[in-house]
Amino acid sequence: SQTIHQWPATLVQPVGSPLSLECTVEGTSNPNLYWYRQAAGRGLQLLFYSVGIGQISSEVPQNLSASRPQDRQFILSSKKLLLSDSGFYLCAWSIGAGGRTDTQYFGPGTRLTVL
């Protein structure tokens, strides 16, 4: 069966520090991968998605970047964190045509607090 991992589970970082969040998927090949942010107030915002190694699409302009160095690894990064980067970061995967009718399966999330 497929599983998705995210780490760390929680993170507290000072403003201006770098960030690296990791997501890995097991039990499947060539998944579509997604990064979402959930701020207070519940709404999920799609940040990045990837249909293959090295292929990243950004949904909104921001202080973050994403990379996919391996088929089942997706990394979210920042060079300098802002207070507004605080939130709950969720990674998700799907199999299919790349975000159309695919069912997405979510990881456990990373709670990021920027102070």
Binding site: L46, E59, L90, G99, T103, Y105, G107
Partner: protein, 110 residues
């Protein structure tokens, strides 16, 4: 701009049927509707997906009228453990945008 709309919150009691409606006026021919459940500090969990008419699985039913501009998630005989936020997701074929609604916070009381 493609958008979904759900009620912000709903209250129910154990044993009742709960219906949560999502509006998606700009849905296109090839788009599907998916519902997720989320507990605090956890990732959303897939509940059900449909295209038209009715879909049923072991936990819920999804009703989609002919014009497909809305959909209704039906939870039969809810329990306290069904207290969660429920999200409607429509995958819009145009532009590949993935749009989550703001979610409906369901509170089930004893």
């Amino acid at each position: 701009l493609a958008k979904t709309t759900q009620p912000i919150s709903m209250d129910s009691y154990e044993g009742q049927e709960v219906n949560i409606t999502c509006s998606h006026n700009n849905i296109a021919t090839n788009d599907y509707i998916t519902w997720y459940q989320q507990f605090p500090s956890q990732g959303p969990r897939f509940i059900i997906q449909g295209y038209k008419t009715k879909v049923t699985n072991e936990v819920a039913s999804l009703f989609i009228p002919a014009d497909r501009k809305s959909s209704t998630l039906s939870l039969p005989r809810v329990s306290l453990s069904d207290t969660a936020v429920y999200y409607c997701l429509v995958v819009y074929n145009q532009g590949g945008k993935l749009i989550f609604g703001q979610g409906t916070e369901l509170s089930v009381k004893p």
